[in-house]
Symmetry: C2
Subunit: 347 residues, 2 copies
């Protein structure tokens, strides 16, 4: 089969690789229908996150079950399914509690020895626990497929940030980061009843999308000026709930600055940089909480799926570039250069 | 009147100062009956927190109202009252929400221009909102007075940490810090229904007290060895809820290491050091939350007072050294040298 492989920074290729195949009785093989490129893939692309030459890449996909192992009971060939960005066994203590990202048998697509999502097919461990079945008729609805694909990562991750930040009815929310996760954070905040949503960003196409998703205000400033602007909008106080969807020291510093006393930062941007960007003294004096991390999106699909199916939320506009498998390297390039927000791969 | 004054690091004196007096119609003057020395006072004592020469010190006290301003309606001369470690107006948005430490008119005892708690009397701004009335007959019960004095800071602060850490029925809790706040954190965790409480400490008198307060296990190791020991006690997982009551980079690092995936650190140790001690990458991967800060103890007195009065909790044993006002410098010295856990001042 053909799949995307990363050889070195900025060297992404689509190559022939061994076919995805069952290895364990709980496995399934999924023929990929839609995949996409994640902002966190760019860390690998840019060489800021280490990868072994030849490693697969891509962790967001949905597709059709092609084959199941002897112990798979809840799925069969032909089922349309979406995969969260990690697999999990569904039975360990963490999975039972919903923290599937800490599953004792969990792992990431594209890690050494596993298939990546940006390829024709994927071997899925613990298929019953990992995959979520979708209505078959979604296959004929391109827009819906895009929205469902967002459940594999960005929509659940934005939701995780919103939950971590304590978004609820009546809250004022600020979102740091205008990538797909930040935008899904806007959507999640709106869905959770936020009264006011301030999106930080200066890329007009993205801030327009933020407004479509529910942002009530946009702040184009950065750094200290952004902090001042958010405070100006909030009677000097800041936002109750801040979604941090970047992961740099600068973005974390901004997040602390714009959080209201007693508020919380929901952080889902993979931390990068040698420091934290956190002024712990300021957080202490103002009782600012920090909650979040790698999002257990598998646990959120049950809650979010009905709203995507009904159209109550539609994250599909985060995909503003469509490519085929051969176009994946171009998708990376476009996202790296910020000419595309998020590339979807149609097979 | 006479009060404690800090002139320079390690130079604490008891001196004649101007009498505490009403300045605003909402003020009260309280004649101090009990005060104490706080672990955070030691940062000033050691020169690690800046003070102006001649500044008052001490922020924990209870006493008898001596005089009230014209607008004070809920208190009168002769009332026994306890003061939280900050004053607050009781009417601003933050106070209404319970975050009295962020009161827009709030302040600390002993800040420049204000009386400190370690003196014969204190002018109390916003007396109706700041002070909490106590039963008059407590005056004749020395042990009860000690327990009530703990409501001014350490008991409420330990409770804040426990709440921030998410302590609840059935949780496993670990407590970093064997000072008065850490010990009150043990008491608070027990009160909130923790099933298992692991106290970290190597000072036997203190760990014995921790056991009296409800600790089920004691870990004497430090650093990486402490992390290993807590994990050993928790099937490799760590504690759901970690109370951080020290504030150094090392203690924060230990706190992160012993927190279970998906758990939370309730931090109330005033942050010291140039870094945070937080490994944000580890916190991210394991979804560890950080919540806490300066404790709004005023808001907790209502909840904790009945339990202190009934004897359901008794924080009084944290005071292991009693001095009179002239003995305050000796109290600092004893606490600095760790020969005393916490010094109480009897007037």
């Amino acid at each position: 089969m053909r799949a995307t492989v990363i050889h070195a920074p900025f060297d992404i290729r689509v190559e022939d690789v061994p076919d995805a195949a069952l290895r364990q009785p709980g496995d399934a093989v999924v023929r990929v229908v839609r995949a996409c490129v994640c902002g966190s893939d760019l860390w690998a692309y840019r060489g800021e996150a280490a990868r072994e030459p030849g490693q697969r890449i891509g962790h967001e996909f949905l597709g059709v079950v092609e084959e199941t192992g002897s112990e798979v009971s809840g799925l069969r060939a032909g089922d349309l399914v979406v995969a969260p960005f990690m697999w999990s066994d569904g039975v360990c203590e963490y999975c039972v509690e919903g923290l599937t990202t800490s599953c004792v048998h969990g792992g990431f697509w594209g890690s050494v020895g596993s298939d990546g999502g940006q390829g024709e097919a994927v071997r899925v461990p613990f298929a019953d626990a990992t995959l979520v079945k979708l209505p078959a008729d979604a296959l004929s609805d391109d827009r819906l497929l895009s929205g469902l694909l967002a459940l594999s990562d960005v929509m659940g991750t934005g939701h995780h940030a919103a939950v971590g930040a304590g978004v609820g009815p009546g809250t004022t929310v600020a979102v740091v980061g205008d990538g797909a996760v930040g935008l899904c954070g806007v959507l999640a905040a709106k869905r959770l009843g936020a009264e006011r949503i301030i999106a930080l960003g200066r890329h007009e196409a993205r801030t327009d999308l933020a407004r479509t998703f529910g942002a009530t205000d946009v702040v184009a400033e950065r750094g200290e000026a952004a902090v001042a602007a958010v405070r100006e909008l909030t009677r000097g106080q800041g936002a109750h709930a801040v979604i941090e969807a970047v992961g740099t020291e600068q973005s974390m510093r901004t997040a602390v600055g714009i959080t209201r006393d007693g508020g919380a930062i929901g952080y889902v941007g993979v931390p990068h940089g040698s420091g934290t960007g956190l002024d712990l003294g300021e957080m202490f004096n103002r009782n600012i909480a920090l909650r979040g991390g790698v999002a257990p999106v598998r646990s959120y699909i049950g809650e979010l799926l009905p709203d995507v199916l009904s159209g109550a939320i539609d994250p599909s506009p985060v995909f503003d570039l469509a490519v085929d498998l051969d176009g994946v390297p171009g998708g990376y390039k476009a996202m790296d250069q910020r000419t595309a927000l998020k590339a979807i791969v149609r097979f």
